[in-house]
Every structure is written in C-alpha cells, then in structure tokens.
Symmetry: C2
Subunit: 481 residues, 2 copies
C-alpha cells in the first residue's frame, strides 16, 4: 500500500474542500451572516493549511494501483464528510456531530435523507448543504483529476473507483481530459438550469440551491414546503434537468462533438427513456382516472415529475404519492431501486447493470436448453467481456448481502420493518426519504448512532458503488502481501 | 420437442396420481365418509383410465433432452395440481376451482399458504390436503424415476429439473437407484416420525397428517388451532424432524452406508446447523429477556421450533412471533428467505447458493485488488465449476426479476405493500404465511384470480427452482429449431 501517495492525495482533497467553502463564505457575506462568515474563514484556513502541509512533500513513488485507488476514494469521501459536517455542528443546526456527518454524507452522496425535522438555517449553511449535492454529484476525485496533472496510467484507478456504473468508459484516451470534459458538461448543465430557473421567477439563491439539488440528483429542499412553493414553469424546468442528469454524460460529449450516431447507440439511455415515459404515461392515466389530478396536462406534469424524481433518485415531490393507487406506488418503488444510467449523477442499481443481468439471464436460459450454444452478452452493439458480467453478478450479491445485514443491524432500534426496510433502501440507493417513520414527512433523526453509522455506510457504499467501502473495510486490503 | 414422450410421461403421472388417491379413499372408508369415498373412487378410476390410454403406446424415441426435461417437469406439477384440486371443489371446501388449484399447488409445493379462513373439512379431504405436502416434498418425477425402468441417460434431465439445489448430486451412478435411495430414506424418516408422534399421545390421523406436513416442510395444519393443541413432547419431535428434513438427503445416504467422512464434509449442512443453532440461541435469550417465555427451557424450545420452522420454510408456529422484538423478527425474515439445504424438502433460496455467492463475492473483491489472482470457488473441499457459479448468479437475477414482476402484478388488487411483498416472498420461497392481510391469522382468499395465478406461478417456480416454469413459458422453448 502506497501510504505516502494516499496521504498526498487526501491532502489535496482537503485543500479542494477549503476552496469549495469559499462559495458559502461569499453567501454569508452577501446575507451579512458574519458569524457564519467567520466560521467559514476559519474552516477554509484550516483546510488549506493542513492540506498544504500534507501535500508539501510529493512522494517519489506515485504508483496507484487498484487497491490504493479504492481505498483513497473511500477515504476521500469520509474525509470531506468529516470536514463538511463542521458548519452544521458549529451553527447548531444539528445537535451532535454524528447527525451533522449523516446530513453531510446524505448531501455528498446525493441521497437527500435528512435527520432534521426543520430545515430552516442560516442562508450560507443552507447553501453549503445543497452545494454538497453538486460536489458529490460528479465526484471529488474526478474534479481533482481534472485540475491536477498526473503522469502514468495510475489515475484510471481513481476514476474507476469513483465513477458510477459497471465499467468505466473513458470518453477520450487521457483520463485527465475525460475528467475535464465531464466537469465542463456538468458546469454547462448547471449554469443553464440556473439561468432558466431565474426566468421562471426564482431569485438567485433559490435558483442556485435548487439547481444544485437537481443536477446532483440529491433532493435536499431549502424550505419545509419543498418544491411546491415554486411555479409550474419552474417545476417543468426541474423535471427536464432531472431527466437530463440521469443520462450517461458521455452521450452529451458525443452530441457536442457532433457524433449523434454514437450518442443514439446507447442502449442504457434508450431503456431509461423508455421506462421513464411509459411509466409516466401509465401513472398519469391512473391518477387522472382516480380524480387525483384535474386535467390531462396536470396529470402528466405531476406524473413525469414524480417518475423523473424517483428514477434519478432525486427525491423531490410535488404531490404526496403515498395516496396514489397501489400499482403506481409499487411501480415507483421498483423504478427507485433500478435507478438511472451509469455515468450520470443519479443513484440506484443502474439500468446498465439491469440490462446486463437480464441478457445474462436470457443467455443462461438458452444455455440450459441448448448447452452447445454459448452466447455473449451484447450492449450498445458490442459484446461485453465475461469478467464484466461476472462482476455485475457479484455486485448484485454484494448489494443483497449489504441490504440484509444493514436491516438486521438497524432493527436493534426496534422500529417497524417498513421503516427499517425503506430506510436501508433509501440510503443504499441514494434516494432520500423512505416510508413509515422515515417517510416524506418524517426524518432519520430518531435512529440510534449505531444505526446512523450503518446508514452512513450504506449511503457511501451506494454512491461509490459498493466496492470502495467493502475494500476499505476488508482485512485483506491491509495485509502486507 | 419429443411430444410423444411428454405425453407418455404425463400419462404415467396421471396413473400415479390415481394410485396416490387410494390413501384418502381408505381414510374416507375408515371415517365412513361415503360421499368422499365415492368421489375418490371416481377420480382414481378416471386418472387410471385416462393415464392408461395415454401410456398405452410407448414412443419409439424415448430421448429426453434438457428442454423436454424441464417442460415435462413443469407440466407434471401443473397436471397433478389440476387433478388434485378436484376433491376440494367437489366437496365444497373452496368456492371456485381457482381457489382449489391454489390450495393444491400450495400443498404440493410445500408452501402451506391457504385461501381458507376455516380449515375444517372431511377427514379424507383434509388427509389429501396434507398428503400433497408429502408427495411434493420429494417430488413426483423422482418417484416415477424410482419405480419406472428408463434406459439411457435421459432420466438425468428429469431428475435435474425437479431436484432442489444449484447442481444435482447423483448419490450413485444410476439415476434410478439414486431416486430409489432418496425415496427409501424419505419413507424411513416419515415412518419414524409417525411412530414417535404416536408415542407422544397423538392419534394415528393426527400423527399421519402432522408428519406429512413436517417431512414435506409444508405447514398445513389440520385444525384452526394449529400446532399448539399438541403436547410439548410432540412439538419437540416435530422440531427435530423439521431440522432433519432441511438437511441434504445425501448426508443420510452416507451415514447409512457408513461413510461418516463424506457426510461430515458437507459445507452446506454445517452452515445450516450453525445458522440454526446460533439464531435459536440468540432469539431464546432475547425472548427470555423480554419475559415472553418464563423458563430458559421454554425459551429455547419455542425459539428452536420457530427457527426450524422458518429456515425449513415449514410455517408451523407455537407462539405468535409478531410480538417478538424487531431484531428477532428481522432475523427470522432473513432466515426465511435463505431457506434450507439443497437436496432437502425445504424451500427458500438454499444455503448452498448463498455459500457459492458469498465465495464468488469474496473472490471478486480479491480479484479487483489483485487482478492477477484468479481463484476458484470451493465447496465441500472441491472446486466448483465456473458454469455453476454463473448459473447461481443468473438464479439470483431471475429470482429478483420474478419477485419484482409478481409484486407489480398483484399490486393491481390495491392491497398494501407489506401484504403484497410478503405474499410474494411467502409463495416464491414456499414459506406459507406472510404478513399483513396474508399473515399467520389471515389468508390469501381476498386476492383476485389474476393475483392467485401469479402466486401459483410463484409457488411452482419456487419449488421447481425457477427454471422449469421460466422455460415452459419461454417462446424460444417452443420454436422449431
């Protein structure tokens, strides 16, 4: 294990965290929250100082292998969460540091679960809270890769450990360029949404915070009323950007570089849009039929908003879908677990994994009937390597095992099964609210610290696609050989 | 597709079904239920007549390949269910034929879910109801293989399609001998339990029906009071036999033939017993601590009974564990899904699959960190073929997909999520009761016919380990090539 290089990278992460806090500092100054401004200045200074000391000696051996890549990724996210939690404790938003950690991890992992029953707080702290969605949406290491020159092919191991999806698609040969392109697209989408939301009547603060929660597919709301206080026009913009941010970002790269053929070849995106619009249509029909909405337009508007929010695991809501027909609710719960596309900011199991598993399943059925025919799994018209199929299958097993263990551990708190089951589902898939006590009108505050740690692990495991967290806590990782 | 051979085998199945109905006929005569006796005589005559006509012309080409094996297995179970349902409709136990089918499939698949709110009925019909557990426990085709001479290696495909577990272990080289040995062990265990239960004060009828439900790990009770009306001694015997019937039957063969080394080498059985006794001890401690039981003996008795009932998916209950601490309930729900050993009469996912998935998961984690080390999955000190690992992974995918689709389909009935989720879990794992409306005090009667068909599919899919049902309904199976 190259400890020096891990130390070096984590120090860089700390520096970046300090720089990122400049934004809430500006907000604090604008809103004349001088206490907060002072706090952010201290935090920024601390981060940059400690980070600069740690990054002062650049290691001679900069080799990063798979193991270091995963460990660094896991530690990076834990480090930012620990630092990012400080503003919440220092301003008294949360009672304990554990609660603040929970809130920060929920933000960074774009989960959107909260331990707060009342989300009113300083403007600058609220800004920081939603800004964590934006930071976590594309990933911190991708950002570091984009701005930091790294020689050798080592950076791939970092990219691979942080990117969502079964296999990493480098858009261009150099990792650094890929990271840059991804961030430029992300920033482009962000600015577009901010501007459009301003046109629909939001003020700059509302527009910024809502955009962060949308493009990061996080779902933290800045007021207890949630998304309903905004106009229908704003809601439509939000719908569109939720859908856009659930799509694999490589598609945008192909579109920008005038390669529509490659963009259209993406099977996962086709599946995503097909599921999205067919589910929305079905649900629109049902809620209209039940008299929940009054006009066909209204039905489709709320239904598409909900489906987009659920599939991208954002967690915004315009209507309380708990009152909708059971078939709608079950469909929404299923879409929630499946999630969005790989390489997007959305969470969940990811549709590409579903695609690979379904194809592998079909091949297995054919193989049983015709043992001589051995078929490959195809995606985007290319055969998929059997090791990818194997690791997707292993992913499903890990997912189920983590799910079961988490439910067992948090059931010590004696809450009901519905609450526990959906609390784990909501955190492991980075969805946000669950049902029962952790439903849209409840929060995660009542859980014990042990359970909160389990759910924090689940949020990080979900965002980082299981492996980094499992490898971090696997004893074999730390063995000498 | 060798249709003639399928016709021939199904005719044999019909003949066997007729012969099996001789037992309830005897019960009807003993209890002087002449109406029932008449009914059983007609059914037996019908089965044997139609079966004999169908089996009269033995096909020249007796080749059975994988496809035919799976299709025949699925059709066999559907055929017996259709015929076995008749006594329930004809005596007015159920209102509709669909309900009778549900009850019969629940019996044959050793699920134990019921659509009846009151299980009192004619002695002979009740006998038939519990006898379906015994028939389904070891499997009908295994029985046919045991008594019918079949040349060639074709019979393996039937055995493979009906046996529970990821890979078929032929105990002895010839399939027919294996089938015979399995049935002899099964009959031996059955007779032992019947005799022991007689000693604990049950009458012959109670002893027979309870034994059928125990050794088949089915769980139909013959009275509304359930297992509580029997003595503690009886309950202990039942506990022991539930545990015994959840073990891979090959272990008994090794023990009988004086090969304890092979018997002790079975990793799955070790895991099964370890999980069983550690869970029972933990739960005993918790319910004693909560004052639910009064003495340590009583705590361990009820706890082991419950754990054994749950792990083998029998579904008997001495206490209402709905009132137990949440951790106990969650642990029991987890054990329910995992199930018992392959090659036993128990249901669920099977521990050998869990073992293989956990080992494959561990290897995947090692592979990611050390890409050069490719390891094999070991079980019982032997390396497992990678195609088995692949098919176990595919099994998990199929399981999850069937689970999700079933919940979606039955949610049309507008029952709550807990009811729907546990209804599917209980049928697909052949457990019996679920929670909510289908809980231990409820039943499946309120579901629509569509939902009942979905749940019947799930019960058959669960008992036959998914593949036969999926292959039966796959269009490709019926294509000409």
């Amino acid at each position: 294990m190259n400890y020096k290089m891990i130390r070096f990278l984590l120090s860089r992460v700390l520096q970046i965290t300090g720089l990122l806090m400049l934004l809430p500092l500006i907000v604090a100054l604008i809103y004349k929250e001088y206490f907060c401004a002072e706090m952010f200045i201290i935090l920024i200074a601390g981060c940059i100082l400690v980070g600069s000391i740690g990054a002062y000696f650049k290691p001679h051996n900069i080799a990063i292998y798979a193991r270091e890549g995963f460990v660094t990724t896991a530690l990076t996210w834990i480090l930012i969460s620990m630092v990012g939690a400080l503003p919440f404790v220092m301003t008294g938003v949360t009672e304990s540091y554990v609660d603040a950690m929970f809130e920060t991890i929920s933000g960074l992992t774009t989960t959107g679960s909260t331990i707060l029953s009342d989300v009113s707080m300083y403007y600058s702290v609220q800004f920081w809270r939603t800004f964590t969605h934006w930071i976590g949406g594309m990933g911190v290491l991708v950002f570091i890769l984009a701005i930091m020159p790294m020689s050798g092919g080592y950076s791939m191991h970092l990219m691979r450990a942080e990117s969502p999806g079964p296999s990493v698609g480098k858009i261009v040969p150099r990792v650094r360029d890929t990271a840059k392109i991804l961030y430029l697209i992300y920033i482009g989408i962000t600015i577009t949404e901010i501007v459009l939301l301003l046109f629909t009547g939001m003020n700059l603060y509302e527009s910024l915070t809502t955009t962060f929660a949308t493009v990061g597919t996080g779902g933290f709301g800045i007021s207890n009323a949630g998304i309903n206080e905004f106009s229908t026009a704003s809601q439509i913009i939000i719908t569109i950007f939720m859908i856009l941010c659930g799509i694999n970002f490589s598609v945008y790269y192909y579109l920008i570089t005038m390669r529509p053929k490659e963009a259209l070849q993406n099977d996962e995106v086709k599946l995503y849009l097909l599921l999205m619009f067919s589910s929305a249509t079905l649900i629109a029909f049902m809620i209209y039929d039940q008299g929940i909405t009054n006009t066909p337009f209204e039905s489709f508007h709320h239904s598409l908003f909900t489906v987009a929010s659920v599939m991208t695991t954002t967690g915004f809501a315009t209507l309380d879908f708990n009152t909708w027909p059971q078939l709608c609710k079950t469909l929404l719960a299923t879409l929630m677990l499946l999630g969005a596309c790989a390489g997007s900011t959305g969470g969940g199991f990811k549709l590409s994994r579903l695609w690979i598993l379904l194809k592998a399943m079909k091949n297995e059925l054919i193989y049983i009937v015709h043992p001589k025919s051995v078929k490959k799994v195809y995606m985007d018209s290319h055969p998929i390597d059997s090791t990818v199929v194997k690791s997707v299958s292993a992913y499903l097993s890990m997912y189920v095992v983590i799910f079961m263990f988490s439910i067992l551990l948090i059931s010590i708190d004696e809450f009901d099964y519905e609450t526990n089951f959906t609390a784990v589902a909501a955190t492991l898939n980075n969805i946000g609210p669950g049902l029962g006590m952790v439903g849209p009108t409840g929060n995660f505050g009542a859980y014990s610290d042990l359970s909160k740690f389990v759910l924090m692990f689940d949020m990080l495991a979900g965002r980082l696609e299981l492996l980094p967290m499992l490898i971090l806590f696997s004893p074999r990782t730390w063995s000498r050989r």
